[in-house]
Structure formats: C-alpha cells, structure tokens
C-alpha cells in the first residue's frame, strides 16, 4: 500500500518499537526511502528519545540521597514495619 506522510507519522511509534507487522513496516520503509521530511521526523524523534532518557536531564538534587536515608533511619529507629495493618 502506498502511504502518505500523515499515515507514516501515525506509524512512527510502532516503527520505532518494532511492533508493526511486516507488510506495514515495508510500506513505511518504502515511503521513508523517498521522503526527506518523514525521514527527518523519524530520525529526530529517535534522537530526541535518546536525549530525554539521559540521566543528566533530571539530575538528583545535591544531598538528596543523604537526606532520604537520614529520614528513613529515623523511621526505622521508631519501629519495625507493621505486620499487616497500616495505611497506604
């Protein structure tokens, strides 16, 4: 099937996650082979996903871990986890 650009955009996630069936994947690849815009959409989306998943985007605040474990230590000193009761 010949796909237009909008159809290809709808399939971008499936293409990236490799969840398209073989026929659809081939159709998307045929389109990508001659469409500069859709190729750039695919490449930029893939690139942006790699960048956003990088740990440097959301850095932990300085001292976060120390403060967390200090607060936990207080709670642990106060007593063991209740056996079954307790609110969530």
């Amino acid at each position: 099937m010949v796909l237009n650009c909008r159809h290809v955009w709808d399939q971008i996630s499936g293409y990236l996650d490799n969840t398209l069936d073989a026929a659809m994947r081939a159709d998307v690849e045929n389109h990508l082979a001659h469409c500069e815009i859709c190729s750039a959409v695919l490449d930029s989306t893939r690139n942006i996903l790699i960048l956003t998943a990088d740990d440097r985007v959301f850095e932990l605040p300085l001292g976060y871990s120390e403060r967390l474990h200090a607060r936990l230590a207080e709670a642990i000193l106060k007593g063991p986890p209740p056996e079954v009761k307790g609110s969530s």
């Binding site: 930029s44 960048l51 959301f58 403060r67 307790g86």
Partner: protein, 194 residues
C-alpha cells in the same frame, strides 16, 4: 531481602531501595514540577513503602509497587494543591499530532547534554506535556517499563499506553526538533566578526 527486613533486619531497607532512589524522585518531579516538593514526595513514598512492606506481594515487582506508591503520593499532592489532574485525555478521540516537518536532521550527540541550556530545553518540553502523556512517557522511556507494567501502574489499558506514548513522542518532536536544531547548530557569536 524483603523477608529478611520483615524478620527483623530493618537496616536492610536502606539497601533495598538504593537502586530506586532516582526513579522515584524523577517520577515525583515529573508530576509535581517542583524539586523541593518532589524530594519530599519521594521521601514520603519510601517511608510508606517501609511502613507497608508487609503488604507487598512477592508476585508483583518491587519497583512497580514503589512507582505506584509515588504516583499516588504525587497525585494526592496535586489534588490538594490544584486541579492539575483534570487535564482530560480521550484516548479514543481523533487527536492527530503533526510532527515538526524538517527536511534534514543531523544527529545531536549525547555530549550536547553537557550544556545546561540543552538539558533545560528537554526538561521544559517534558514537563509541558499533559499529565496523562507525561506519566506514560516517563514510565516507558525513562524508566524503561513494559507496556504491561505501565498500564498496571497507571490503571489504564495497554492500548491507552501505546496511544499516549505515541502522542507524547510526536509532541516532543514537534516542540524540540526545531529548538534543538537551532540551539546545537547556532554559530558561536563570540568573535564572529573576525
């Protein structure tokens, strides 16, 4: 390890949660958008996990259980502070998101994240996503949870996870691709007259 903690070795809880410190904070921050509040919510989530450890069922994944606790914690804080939970998303509705249409893309390498303005661009775009998309995006892309785990943690269907993730990705591409393209390729202005 959980059995050992419940049998009396309570200090082991520190070790149990160490691998999840970042995930829980990041999840809280992505919902609350405020570092101090996210840290407090993350601490509260770990405390709740400790207090409710006996309720944890071993057939579930500990990390998924923790994520559920921090999601509930952050959502209840949002409910208390404002009506941010009301940005309604209809997964069945036609809501086509058109990506930014570029004619070329030169890969932006991960080294560009050394620049704080690039990190800020990415963070802002992520935090600007509608809450329902943001939750799915963080779980799938940053925490690398499966579609099933994401659906379970959020209490939505797998189809909704896929739809929201797709829309989140295209929204991010639409906003970020032009910004990153110009930010990374902007010529150095210093001494440009030479």
């Amino acid at each position: 390890m959980i059995a050992a903690i419940l049998s009396g070795d309570h200090q082991l809880f520190h070790e149990l949660i160490r691998p999840y410190e970042r995930s829980v904070y990041r999840m809280a921050l992505s919902l609350l958008k405020n570092e101090a509040e996210a840290e407090d919510a993350a601490q509260e989530a770990f405390l709740k996990a400790y207090r409710n450890l006996a309720r944890f069922r071993s057939e579930a994944r500990f990390s998924t259980w923790l994520i559920t606790i921090v999601l509930n914690e952050a959502r209840s804080r949002l409910r208390r502070s404002q009506s941010a939970l009301t940005d309604s998303i209809d997964d069945g509705r036609e809501d086509p998101v058109a990506p930014a249409q570029l004619t070329d893309w030169r890969e932006i390498p991960s080294q560009s994240l050394e620049r704080s303005e690039i990190r800020t661009l990415l963070r802002r775009a992520l935090l600007a996503l509608p809450l329902a998309y943001r939750e799915v995006f963080i779980l799938r892309e940053l925490e690398e949870r499966s579609v099933d785990e994401t659906a379970e943690a959020l209490g939505i269907t797998q189809a909704s996870v896929k739809m929201r993730l797709h829309r989140a990705r295209l929204k991010l591409q639409k906003q970020l691709a032009p910004q990153l393209k110009s930010a990374v390729r902007a010529p150095r202005r210093r001494f440009s007259w030479f």
